[in-house]
Symmetry: C2
C-alpha cells in the first residue's frame, strides 16, 4: 500500500495543453482539486492506486511488459515497495494537485503521487507544475521513495467508502459497474426474450421463516408485530410455480444479518430462477447457456457443458465441495502403497477400520518451495487441524535430511511415483486419518501451496481462466452440530431427495442424497439450487417427522402444494460474487455502487443512525440500552466518527 | 359481484373428451378439484370471474358482440345481475367441479358457476356432468339466477390474497404479470441498449432522510442505531451523477409506511432515472421515447411528443395538477359575462378583489342527468367544499324550474352560450369564489359528472385511449400547512428553481417556479421528476435559509456537490400504477404478484407476525405494549384470522 514519491523533470513535447479541449471538464476538475485540498480527500488517490492494482496484476500475466519501446520505465499503477530507491520515468495526465506540494499523475494503470520540488534550484519546474491545468500530459523522472511519514493512511478503504462518489469516478469502479449492468442485461435477454421467463417482483416485507435467525426485523404499526426481510424469495418462487407462472426469474434483493463478516454485505443480489416441469439437467443446461450468453466479450468465451463432480468425488479429490479446478494437485489415496509403512502416524492411521493415507503432489515443489515453506505448511496443519503432514521427495536429487521421510521404503517410493505420476523436483505431502478429515486437510494445503508457489513466481491459476464446475448429489440431511443425533437440512427443507434414495427416507434418512446442485467458479460457490419437493405429504413428512419443525409456520406453503403443484426446481446465482470474479475485483465491495463496511455501516451517510424515541413510538418499540451504554446514549447525534 | 347459476343441457358434439390429451394436466387438475372441495377454496372462481370482468368491460367497447354467428348467447365472463332471469346458452371448458353440486365453466372472458341439476328427471345429465373430466368442452343452457343465499362471500378480495397462488392461475393475473415483465424488459432495452444507461442497484438499508416520517425503521445490532428503508433512491442517484456514472436507471424497490391507505402498498416499484448534462426537455423526450418503445403491441401506439400544460394552466382548465384529458368539459372563467348578475352568491364573489365565477359545460346533460343527479352534485360541493354550485340550462327547451337559474339574464345567457359554445341539451354548472378554490371544486365536479354520465351509458373516457400529459412549472415552495408563514418544498429540496426565477429566491421565494415536471396519464400521476440543484451553495441556501432544515443530516450530499457535480436531472415512473392503467386493472394489487392488503398485511403468510422477545434481543429493542393490549399479548401465535 505504498505510493511512490518522485522528483520531477518536465518533458517538452507535452507542454501544458489540456489533452481534452473541454472547458467544462477542466472546470469540474479544478473544483475537484479544491475539494481534495481538505484533509479528508487526502488519500483518495491512494485508494485508486490500489484499485488499479487489480488491473495491473491480471494484465501483467497476459502482457507483462507495458513499458517496452517507449520513454517510460514503469506505469503509474505499477509502483510497489519493491521499487523503492529505483530511478523511474513515468508518463501520464495530471489528475489533480494538492496545495502545490504534490500532484497526482494518472495513466491507464493507476495513479501515483509526485512530489513537486520545493527547493530554489527547481523554481522553474515548480512554477510550470503548479500552473499546469489538470489533464495536462507530462513526463516525470525521479527516485521512488516511501510515502512521507504521516501521510500513510491505514483507513484507506473506510475513506473510499466515505467518499464513495469520488471513488466511483475511478476507471475500475466505472468498469465494474458498467460490466455488471451489461452482464445482467444480457442475462435478462436470455431469460425473457429467448426462453420465455417472466420477471416477477416478490415482496421483501415478509414474515420470519423457520430458523430465520439472520433476518432483519421491521416493526409494524401494530404492537408486537414485525415484518422480516427475507434471505431469498424461496417460498415466493415456489408459490409462483403453484400459481402456474411456469418460468420465473428475478434479480432479487436479499438480506442477511450476519453481524460483522468480511466480504459479506447485509443486502445482496441474486439471479433467482424457478421453472416448472424441469429436472436437474434442465436447470444446468439453462444456466450454462445463461452464462455463455451473458459472458463479457472481452473475456475468453465460456465452454459448455460444465464438468460435474459428485459431492463425494469433490471431497475425495479436492477436499472441499467447491474445488478450484484451474489447477491439478488432486488428492490421491495412497493407503495401498503404504500398507506396510514403518512411519508411526501412518501406521496408526492404517490400523484403524476407516483409516487412510492421502497425498498431494506439488509439481516442481523442490524448485519453488523453501524448507521454511514446508515447515509452515506442517505447522498450519498441526495448528488448524491437529493433523500431522509429511513432505517427501520421491525423485529429488537433493537430500532434504528429513529422518521421517527417509523411513519411506524404496518399494513404497516407486509405488508412489507410479501411482501419483511423480516427476523430478516434485514434492509430495502425505497425511493420514479418517477419509473426510484427511481430504479436508489436504484440500486446504492444496490452496496454501498454490498461494506459496504463486508468491514464488509460478502461475498456477491463470487469471484469464474461468473454470466452472457443477457439484451434485449432496447429502439431503446433516447431523445437527449441537446434537448429532438429530438431522437438519443440508441446504433447505424444500429440497427434493434423489429419486434413487426415496425409500431410504423411511429407513436411513442420513444416507439420502438430494437433488441439490452447486455451481462453482474458480473455487468459489457462485450458485446453488435444487429440484423441490412438490408433494405435500412428502414435504410434511420431512418437515414434521425428520426435521421436527413447526409446520404451522409453513402452512401456507403446504396448503399450496395440496392445491396441485407442478414438479419444479430452480437456482440462485450470487450476482455480487460472480461479478467480483469476472472483473477480478479484490472484494465484492468493488462491484457494488454503495456497499456497507464489514461492520454493516454506510460510511458515507452514517447509517445505521440514532433515532429520537418519538420516531419509534408509532412502531411500539423502545431501545433496551445495555447496562454499560450510558456513554453511548449521551453521544447521540455527536459528530460522525469513521470506523477504524 | 353476482355469479350466475344456470340449469344445464349438454351438447353432443363436445362430449366428454378432455380438450388437451395430457394425462399430467388432468392429473393436476383433478388434484386441484380436490383442493377446492375444502371450504376455503369456495369463492376463488368468483374472484376470477370478477377479475375477468375488466377484460370484458374494456373489450365490450371495442368489439361489442362476442356472441354473433355462434351457438352461445353470452360469454361466461359477461353475466351480471342485469342478466338475472334471462335464458342463456354458454360454451366453454369445465374448469372444476365442487361436490357434484356445482361446476365452474370457463371461456376466454371469465368463469361462471353452473348448478348441476339434482332432481331424478335429470339423472342422465347429472351423471355425465359429474363424470366428465375437467377441461371437457360443454354447451349449457339455462336461466340466470342469483348466487344461492349463503354462498355470497363478502371477503372475496381477502380470500384472493390469502390463496394468492390460486388467484395467480387466472387468465387476468397471468396477463397482467406477463405484460408487466415484457413492458419492463422493453424499457430496459430502450435505456440500456439504445441509450447507454447503466442499471445500478442502490441500497435499501439507509439512514433516515430529513422529514422521512414515513420510512420503516430497522433496528441494527448496535444499541439505539437504526437503518431506514428509503422512499426512493433520490440521494443515491444524485451521488451517482457526482460519481460520473452519467446515465443511471434502476427498477427500484421503494418503501413508504403510510399505515392503512386504499390502493397503496408499503413496498412499491419505480422506474428510477437520472442523467447528467440534461435539461427538462431532454428528460421529457427520453420518457416519451421510453413509453413509445415499451408500449404493448396489442394497444394503440403512443403518440409523441406528449402535450404539456403549466401547473397554472392545468389548475385553471381542469382544477387539478393531474387532469384527465381524455374528455373536455374544461373550466371556463365567466366572470366577465356575469359581472352584472343578480344572483346573490355570484354577486358576493365578484365584489371581492380575487373573486371569480367559473363554469363547466356538461354536453347533453339534460338528456343524461336527472334532477336528483344535479341535487347530489350540489350537495357534494356543499358538503366537501362548503361551496355553492348552480346548474343552468342556457338552451334547454325543458324548464327545470330552478328559481335561481331563472335569474340569469337573457344577455348573460347568450354571452354564456357564445363563450362556452353551449349546444342544445347542455347543462352548465356555475360556481364562484377565489380562483384556486373555484377551480378545485369544478375539477372535482367534472370527474363526478363524468362518472354519472358513464353510469347512464354515455362513454366519455374511451377505455382504449391513453392520454398522456406533462404538467410543468410547479411552484418550488408551498406555505407550510401548519404554519403558512414558513415554506416547505413542493416536491423535494433538491429541485432546481426555474432559471427565469432565480433572483426571486432572494426576494420573493414563494413566487419561484421549479424545474419539476409531472407525467399524467388519464388523470393519474404516473411519474415526476426535476432538474436538480448541482451548486452546493445554492443547495445550502435553500436547505438552511429558506427551508430551515438541519443540513447536518445531508452533509454527505452537500459535500458531494462541493466536489464537482455535473448539471443533472431525472424522473421516477410509478411502475405499479402505470401497469395498472395499461392493463385496465381495478387496483394496483392486480398487477403485483403478492400484494399486501390495504392494512399492509400479507394475508397468505400472515405477515407482519409476532416474534418472541428473545428474537428481538440482538437488536436491543423491546415492544412497548399499549395499556389496553394485554388481550392482544395473550393471543400471540393464535390461529390465523383474516382481516375483514
Amino acid at each position: 500500500m505504498r505510493s511512490a514519491c518522485i522528483s520531477v523533470k518536465l518533458g517538452i513535447r507535452e507542454r501544458l495543453s489540456p489533452s481534452c479541449g473541454s472547458n467544462m471538464l477542466s472546470c469540474w476538475l479544478s473544483r475537484l482539486c479544491r475539494g481534495f485540498s481538505t484533509p479528508t480527500g487526502r488519500i483518495t488517490h491512494l485508494s485508486r492506486g490500489s484499485l488499479s492494482r487489480t488491473l495491473v496484476l491480471s494484465s501483467q500475466r497476459r502482457i507483462p511488459e507495458f513499458s517496452s519501446f517507449v520513454a517510460r520505465t514503469n506505469t503509474c499503477g505499477e509502483l510497489r515497495s519493491s521499487h523503492l530507491g529505483q530511478e523511474v520515468t513515468l508518463c501520464g495526465w495530471i489528475q489533480y494537485r494538492r496545495q502545490n506540494i504534490f500532484l497526482v499523475l494518472r495513466d491507464f494503470h493507476g495513479l501515483v503521487q509526485v512530489v513537486i520540488p520545493q527547493e530554489e534550484s527547481a523554481a522553474a519546474v515548480r512554477k510550470i507544475l503548479c500552473e499546469a491545468p489538470v489533464e495536462s500530459v507530462v513526463r516525470v523522472s525521479g527516485t521512488v521513495i516511501s510515502r512521507p511519514p504521516g501521510q500513510e493512511n491505514p483507513k484507506t478503504e473506510a475513506l473510499r467508502l466515505q467518499y464513495r462518489y469520488l471513488d466511483l469516478r475511478s476507471f475500475q469502479m466505472q468498469y465494474n459497474l458498467r460490466l455488471r449492468s451489461q452482464m445482467v442485461m444480457k442475462m435478462r435477454e436470455y431469460l425473457c426474450n429467448l426462453h420465455g421467463f417472466v420477471d416477477i417482483e416478490t415482496p421483501t416485507l415478509f414474515k420470519r421463516t423457520p430458523g430465520g435467525a439472520k433476518e432483519f426485523v421491521i416493526p409494524s404499526r401494530e404492537p408486537g408485530k414485525f415484518y422480516c426481510l427475507p434471505q431469498s424469495p424461496q417460498q415466493f418462487k415456489q408459490l409462483l410455480m403453484v400459481g402456474g407462472l411456469d418460468r420465473y426469474f428475478q434479480v432479487a434483493r436479499c438480506y442477511r444479518d450476519e453481524g460483522s463478516r468480511p466480504d459479506r454485505q447485509p443486502e445482496f443480489t441474486q439471479i433467482d430462477i424457478e421453472m416448472s416441469f424441469v429436472d436437474q439437467t434442465g436447470i444446468q443446461r439453462l444456466i450454462e447457456g445463461l452464462l455463455q450468453y451473458s459472458w463479457p466479450s472481452d473475456k475468453d468465451p465460456v465452454v459448455v457443458p460444465f464438468p460435474s463432480l459428485t459431492f463425494a468425488e469433490a471431497l475425495a479429490s479436492y477436499g472441499t465441495d467447491k474445488p478450484d479446478t484451474r489447477f491439478g494437485m488432486k488428492i490421491i489415496d495412497i493407503s495401498d502403497v503404504l500398507r506396510n509403512t514403518e512411519v508411526g502416524f501412518l501406521q496408526d492411521a492404517l490400523s484403524k477400520p476407516q483409516g487412510t493415507v492421502k497425498a498431494i503432489c506439488i509439481s516442481e515443489g523442490t524448485k519453488y518451495l523453501k524448507r521454511k515453506d514446508l515447515e509452515s505448511i506442517r505447522k498450519f496443519a498441526a495448528d488448524h487441524f491437529n493433523q500431522e503432514v509429511l513432505p517427501v521427495f520421491p525423485k529429488a536429487s537433493r537430500n532434504w535430511n528429513s529422518p521421517v521421510a527417509q523411513s519411506i521404503l524404496e518399494e513404497q517410493r516407486s509405488g508412489l511415483i507410479r501411482l501419483m505420476e511423480i516427476r523430478e523436483d516434485d514434492v509430495v505431502l502425505l497425511t493420514a486419518g479418517e477419509h473426510k478429515k484427511a481430504c479436508s486437510v489436504l484440500g486446504k494445503l492444496r490452496l496454501e501451496c498454490a498461494d506459496l508457489l504463486e508468491a514464488r513466481g509460478l502461475v498456477l491459476r491463470d487469471p484469464t481462466l474461468f473454470s466452472f464446475l457443477w457439484v451434485v448429489d449432496f447429502p439431503l440431511f446433516l447431523p445437527k452440530e449441537e446434537n448429532p443425533g438429530e438431522l437438519e437440512s443440508a441446504h433447505h427443507p424444500f429440497t427434493a431427495p434423489h429419486p434413487s434414495d426415496i425409500q431410504l427416507l423411511y429407513t436411513e434418512p442420513e444416507k439420502v442424497r438430494s437433488q441439490h446442485y452447486d455451481l462453482v467458479l474458480n473455487g468459489s460457490e457462485i450458485g446453488g439450487g435444487s429440484i423441490r419437493i412438490h408433494d405435500a405429504e412428502l414435504q410434511r413428512y420431512i418437515l414434521a417427522t425428520l426435521l421436527k419443525e413447526d409446520v404451522k409456520l409453513l402452512s401456507h406453503l403446504l396448503q399450496a402444494l395440496d392445491f396441485g403443484a407442478p414438479p419444479h426446481g430452480g437456482i440462485a446465482l450470487g450476482l455480487d460474487r460472480l461479478i467480483c470474479l469476472v472483473t477480478g475485483a479484490p472484494s465484492i465491495r468493488d462491484v457494488i455502487a454503495f456497499p456497507k463496511s464489514f461492520k454493516g455501516h454506510d460510511l458515507m451517510s452514517n447509517a445505521p443512525d440514532s433515532l429520537p424515541p418519538e420516531e419509534l413510538k408509532p412502531y411500539h418499540i423502545q431501545v433496551s440500552w445495555p447496562a454499560n451504554s450510558e456513554a453511548e446514549k449521551s453521544s447521540l447525534n455527536q459528530p460522525y466518527c469513521p470506523e477504524s
